[in-house]
């Protein structure tokens, strides 16, 4: 029975991993271990070199299942870079420069020329939604809030800003 449970778990993992669909091409951003399961404590089956090409077979949470030569295993998604030369992938192939003088979402000329008292501010101010509506929208998609502490380098984040933050 327990064995069946393990098989079911592996099957489910496989489903999650392949849900993304078509294979993506990529390469390793850094040297990494190829693991036999999507977990930090999993067994190392091979070593992958920086810039080594891989096929991304699927994903599971923060992990990607990849094929490197004859070896198949798991690496952290964050250690992957996708191949920009492959059309239809989530890469720079879709990143088209809109000009050579843009800064932060608009051209420098547009920013300099921007006038107050004009534009879509009124429309913007009326686009907000209520907390209730947003929560309902989240529930409709199966989102469940969870407790999550700040992680690492929490020197400023882990405490509330003092009331006199700008008073000094």
């Amino acid at each position: 029975m327990r064995r069946h449970g393990v098989l079911l778990l592996l099957l489910l993992l496989g489903c999650v991993a392949t849900a993304a669909g078509a294979t993506e091409r990529g390469y390793m951003a850094k040297t990494a271990d190829l693991l036999d399961a999507p977990a930090a404590g999993a067994r190392r089956t091979a070593g992958l070199a920086k810039r080594q090409s891989v096929d991304v077979l699927g994903r599971s949470g923060s992990w990607a299942r990849v094929q490197a030569g004859a070896s198949v295993g798991w690496v952290r998604s964050i250690d992957l870079r996708l191949d920009v030369s492959m059309p239809g992938q989530a890469t720079a192939a879709r990143v088209k420069p809109a000009g050579d003088n843009g800064i932060r979402g608009f051209s420098e000329e547009e920013l300099v020329a921007a006038a107050t008292g004009a534009g879509d501010l009124d429309k913007f101010r009326h686009m907000g939604v209520s907390v209730k509506d947003a929560a309902q929208f989240a529930r409709a998609a199966g989102l469940k809030p969870r407790k999550q502490d700040y992680f690492e380098s929490t020197d400023l984040m882990s405490r509330d800003l003092p009331a006199d933050f700008f008073d000094e």
Binding site: G61, A90, F106, L143
Partner: protein, 284 residues
């Protein structure tokens, strides 16, 4: 000290320091001790939340003056639903949060104090699912949560007000402050925030998205997309002016992300595709 009293007093202090003639505006900036000016402003400044919201609204007005909103009410409503939900996971859920997509092909997102967040149409087209959107919005919400822009303004606003030729005779009304912030706003968004603030917003944005119930790897996935792009791309050259390199941001994020490995949460790709359909059709 109320905001109404800030400009006249601060201007007076600066004028005294600079030895300028009032009303003329032809300041000799080389004679201004900006460190002293900024320190003076810091001592005088007392930004309460209603003022912060007004300042942010004024900055948003300038940003929208540069580029209008994208005409797609359903998409705008969608981004507000997602954004408001993520914002509820922040330390400042009660702000009047507003989210919008502007009609720009550049790839970016930015925030203004008090809860104003704008994502470019170009950025929306780069995203693959709602978890990635939540991550991007979480990053911007973190900037507001930590008052990063106010902090930057505190460092630079007064110097820029001098550059605008503001004299002690103006600024008797709070609205004048908002108008006078147009110059500093433009300068701030052209220069970008401190790198440390960007790294902090990355860490915090991931946490907000996770608390909202999303796959917390949305923001790292977006950064991976950007890091995978051709570094010779003009777009990236421009992005690098105002942000740390995507690879550096991923490197900073990576150690902390291991604490989120066990989370299995939805990305909501189908819903994202549904609401961005018009956007993607229009771009074909």
């Amino acid at each position: 000290m109320s905001a109404r009293g800030w400009i006249p007093l601060a201007c007076a202090a600066a004028l005294a320091l600079a030895g300028c003639k009032s009303g003329g505006g032809n300041f000799d900036l080389s004679r201004v001790d900006f460190n002293s000016v900024v320190k003076s402003v810091g001592n005088l400044r007392d930004v309460k939340e209603p003022e912060e919201i007004q300042i942010g609204q004024g900055m948003a007005e300038t940003l929208l003056g540069a580029r209008p909103l994208y005409d797609d009410p359903e998409l705008q409503r969608y981004v507000n639903d997602v954004g408001m939900w993520v914002a509820q996971q922040s330390g400042r859920p009660g702000l009047p949060w507003h989210f919008g997509v502007n009609d720009s092909d550049y790839i970016n997102a930015f925030a203004a104090p008090g809860g104003f967040v704008i994502v470019t149409k170009g950025m929306m087209k780069q995203l693959r699912n709602e978890a990635e959107l939540a991550g991007v919005l979480g990053h911007e919400i973190a900037h507001v949560n930590q008052k990063h822009h106010l902090k930057a303004l505190k460092k630079s606003a007064f110097a820029d007000l001098l550059g605008e030729g503001v004299s002690a005779g103006t600024g008797s009304k709070y609205n004048d402050l908002v108008k006078n912030l147009a110059g500093p706003t433009k300068e701030l968004y052209a220069r970008g925030l401190d790198k440390s603030d960007e790294f902090e917003a990355d860490r915090m944005g991931v946490v907000f998205a996770a608390r909202a119930g999303y796959d917390p790897y949305g923001l790292p996935a977006v950064l991976t997309t950007l890091a995978s792009a051709d570094p010779k791309d003009n777009f990236l050259t421009l992005l690098y002016k105002t942000h740390p390199l995507p690879q550096a941001r991923l490197d900073k994020l990576s150690p902390g992300l291991t604490t989120l490995d066990a989370i299995k949460a939805p990305q909501n790709a189908a819903r994202f595709q549904q609401y961005t359909r018009k956007l993607r059709v229009a771009s074909q």
